[in-house]
Symmetry: C2
Amino acid sequence: MKVRIDRIARDIEIINSFTSTPGRGITRFTFSEPYMQARAYLAEELQKIGARVATTPGGNLCGRIEGGMTGLPSVMTGSHIDSVLHGGRFDGVAGVVAALEAARVMAEEKPAHRHPVDVVVFAEEEGSRFGSVMIGSRAWIGKLTSEDLNRLKDQDGVSYAAAMADAGIAPEAASLLRPGMVKAMIELHIEQSLVLESKGLSIGVVEGINGIKQFAVSLTGVSNHAGATPMGLRHDALQGAARVIAAVEEIAVQEPGATTVATVGVLTCEPGQANVIPGKVRFTLDIRDLDSGRIDQAARRIMSVIQKTCQDRGLAFDIQPRSDTPPVRLSKEVVRLIETTAREKGIKTLRMPSGALHDSSILPEVTEVGMIFVPSKAGRSHCPEEETNLEDIGAGAELLLGAVAKLAS
Amino acid sequence: MKVRIDRIARDIEIINSFTSTPGRGITRFTFSEPYMQARAYLAEELQKIGARVATTPGGNLCGRIEGGMTGLPSVMTGSHIDSVLHGGRFDGVAGVVAALEAARVMAEEKPAHRHPVDVVVFAEEEGSRFGSVMIGSRAWIGKLTSEDLNRLKDQDGVSYAAAMADAGIAPEAASLLRPGMVKAMIELHIEQSLVLESKGLSIGVVEGINGIKQFAVSLTGVSNHAGATPMGLRHDALQGAARVIAAVEEIAVQEPGATTVATVGVLTCEPGQANVIPGKVRFTLDIRDLDSGRIDQAARRIMSVIQKTCQDRGLAFDIQPRSDTPPVRLSKEVVRLIETTAREKGIKTLRMPSGALHDSSILPEVTEVGMIFVPSKAGRSHCPEEETNLEDIGAGAELLLGAVAKLAS
């Protein structure tokens, strides 16, 4: 059994012909006209290989190829086709076309499989239209109710439920996804970072989704004349912040395993004049790791640097927690199965965390989940320059096929 | 001869009764109604002691007390009464009331003096109304022409020249201030910083006005996902900037004499999102010293840190000079005369640079200039909290009186 790269390339081409911003990247908001055109193409391709196609709660598309036995849980694979504004050609699409091609090969070669195989297109993963991410998968497992789907609105005030109805789709399979209904789920996705490229690898095996803690920090000193205040008499909030920011990097780098990432993405100075010493500096702090203990440890160490720096420099500080998303561990069994399959096919892999959230962060509540990453050129994503080699997507699809076939056997 | 603090207190009270923002600090823009009321009070007080009052080119008020000999150059003292928006009660006013009180005592006690004494109220020192600082003194010495005064406009489009005419004043003494016309000029001013207070001194003797070099710096790295990009693969512009900012302080502190001050007052991150690594950071750099060699040395050392930091971190940089004001050395003779007079009166002094610009930065082109600083509480200035002890102003006025009397003798 082998996937065909030419068919994958054609699928990518056709799906990306549907965009609201031709020539300026891919813009394909959930339930928009280009979205429904791409979705119709996928439904048709799934029907061609004998799949039974249905819309699930939350507006996800699910194409099922039945297995040799009835009543067994399915093996699921898929991703999303909605995009950010002026996004790229591969975020989501790579996983959908890999799943479709894997299903095609299984339909053609008919390996003995008892479990049904589900190819899924999750709706509104990016949150670009309705302002909230992974709506389709969260609604399917019952984490969002129909009231939620009436409440979530786009910029024009159209609700998620109304947009679904306007697009002419209604959940045919009304039942929610419950534990026991799916044996395992595997999502292929582009990495959206530089790790695989920098190591010259085609495949990453995702062992979990990073947890995130965000804080809003402010340091307060004394705003004074930049010309008349000697260095020794200053309480410069930005000078304090500079030491804290340097420590944020040093602490993240020193964490055992070096998987912790910590970022200051926004910083503002008050009063913000070239000739006035900053009296107040506000900045954000974003700490992520697969291990919540390491997040907390890094946070504690950074807080203690803030405290010490402010004490030394006569500054006051304020630290407000802003968000706290716990890490998600993916299935050890599925991770091992993917790795074993890769070894059999002679594909080198790297275990890694996912820094970004995916529908695969939601599904561990109902099934065993694994993810396959393929490289992003220069780590670029969510932009028209987003690029992944067809050969890498091919290798990922080949691995996905092998793993899904084994799980379904 | 002794100045009277009660008269100084009364002058300060009356002048500050004229403000456009009662209860919210002093706002007294040049040639505005409160400005002209304060100016009229000063003209009257000067006339009471027999001074001949005139408006000079540039709209400055000059009250002359004649000396024993005609044709000799005058000894000048004064400051300004225009303020910033919601400013304080002492910036400028302290120097004007000290000059007025010194002239009063000389008029009363009639010490033998051959040289005339000029009490001057310089116009538009702050630049609050016409957007350009020290217009009065620059126009008086011919650095600004009458075309310039027609070109410089306030927010309502009223030119400096028209505002003068509207206020009903025209230069009676049409002649510019030329070398030889003034023997020496001494300005008393509040320090606007913390040095005197921190040393428990009442008097600073200003030996020069700091020169200023300002730069606009930008560091460019790669903007990437804060969750998906491992620390080792980042080119974080803000992490680079943090090292540079820390070095700015360290280099200034290490400069010999420790008179150099260096400040980063504004910093912005792009794209400026909590979950995105800053791809570009822009910041200002302001370096000041009384010695332009030390400014250049600090600038060179900071530039070399920028270069090295960017090389180490794979960042690009751009450095644009923004302004370059050379330092002004005040008169060694006048500085020594003020110090000698202070010693005779048992007043302890500290030689220091002025971090801010004053009319005294302009006048060295035409005469020997000295400045006396009195302490600012907590270094606050340009705000309603600006405060100086009456006793300190009294000590400064006493010293000013002694120095002016000696120079005029």
